[in-house]
Amino acid sequence: MPKPILTIKNLTKTYGQNVIFQHLDLTVNEGDTIVIIGPSGTGKSTLLRCINLLTRPNEGQIWLDDLEITAKGTDEDQVRQHIGMVFQNFLLFNHLTALGNVKLGLTRVKHLSDEAATEKAMRELNRVGLADRANHYPGQLSGGQQQRVGIARALAMDPRVMLFDEPTSALDPELIGEVLEVMRQLSLDGMTMLVVTHEMGFAREVADRIVFMEKGYIVEEGSPDEMFNHPKFDRTREFLWKITELYGKKEKEAE
């Protein structure tokens, strides 16, 4: 019996008059990698930001394990520790080295000793292949390396689930591969992941389920095989065809 880690029920988010999504349901089971795809402005980022409580939904509930995190009086800082977030433009702390970036949460949130934090942070940097760059500042790292530090920073908190918001969209084609490889390995290691991406190769190979969102609705979800080979809706087929065409070229370039 699969154990749900994230349960989203009837979620609605509006900005003023603008309804971003309405009555949205989604369940993420332990160890699953779920890829969310959909056109620009559909509310994918907003959904991730709601899950991480970086913005509040207007209606609906989100559970992390058995805890309703949307309930009034939830300790948001406590919840966010358990939900890792990887941003499109990395958002590393620019005044700290790679090691400093990964350590900050360990010393200030988890209150580890400096020694224990360094040891744990080095393990995470090693996991993303950057132990030798520990003392470099973000400005001295390539985009791909910065994003891998971003992943290590989130992993260091031992999150229950990792959220990725287009982690490779800001990268030059030749740097995308190294980040996707780290994510693929994470997925193999059993991390629960919710990934917004246009990388169809990754989705096809790594995703347990693909969710197609459009205009604030989940149009269709299914296994990669179902979605790519026999989708139920024409909209899904059209979008996948278009996106594969568009980004497939970029992937070819990268090889």
């Binding site: 991480n52 958002l91 005044h95 500042y137 973000p138 001295q140």
Partner: protein, 225 residues
């Protein structure tokens, strides 16, 4: 022609004593101004609405009125309300309260430039809002502010010259005394100007050094993006 150089010999001790007072006024004013200015900047960027408005009002008033008026209100006006200050204390207070308004503007600019993205990144690993401000936003914002902020100590040092009007014995007061003894106003004030100039150069060098010391490799490229 160069008789004014002789004044350094004749009044050197007095000028030095005065310059000491001037530096003290600058330092105290700068520190009061920095602490209060930082609080004002944080209040404006992160405070509740009423506090944002109050901080904005403070800044508008202190930037919008002459420092001399502020100094006279503190030294001559407040005693009527039962608040009496020594000359030096009044000078410290006026310089500090005034400088705070300007420093708040420098700091607020760079806090805004660091922006909400870094705030989100900090919150995403479980840091609280104030932890993110202390460990993520301010270390970057202060570095970013440093080059333009270093105008403030220099401007403040020159501004301290007005406090001789409430008889604080600063460099300007010493100059005035020397001028009335010799009746050579041009020569004496030229010598005084040179002393101010030397202090300004020294301060400038100090902050350039600080800038180099606190620089993060590659960071200026990052923030310009």
């Amino acid at each position: 022609m160069l008789t004014w150089l002789g004044y350094f010999e004749r009044f050197g001790k007095n000028f030095l004593r005065g310059a000491g007072v001037t530096l003290e006024l600058t330092a105290v004013g700068l520190v009061i101004g920095f602490v209060l200015g930082l609080l004002l900047a944080l209040a404006r960027s992160y405070g509740p609405k009423w506090l944002q408005r109050a901080a904005g009002g403070y800044i508008a008033v202190f930037r919008g009125t002459p420092l001399l008026v502020q100094l006279f209100i503190i030294y001559y006006g407040l005693p009527e309300l039962g608040l009496t200050f020594s000359q030096n204390m009044a000078a410290y207070l006026a310089l500090g309260l005034n400088s705070a308004a300007y420093q708040a503007e420098y700091l607020r600019g760079s806090i805004n430039a660091i922006g909400s993205a870094q705030m989100q990144a900090g919150r995403s690993i479980g840091l609280s809002k104030w932890q993110t401000i202390s460990y993520v936003i301010l270390p970057q914002a202060l570095r970013l502010a440093l080059p333009s902020w270093s105008n403030e100590p220099i401007s403040l040092l020159k501004t301290t010259a007005i406090v001789f009007l409430i008889a604080v014995q600063d460099l300007m007061a010493e100059g005035k005394r020397a001028a009335t003894t010799t009746f050579d106003f041009v020569g004496v004030y030229l010598a005084v100007a040179v002393v101010y100039l030397v202090m300004v150069f020294a301060l400038d060098a100090l902050f350039k050094f600080l800038e180099r010391k606190t620089k993060i490799p590659g960071m200026d490229i990052e923030t310009r993006r």
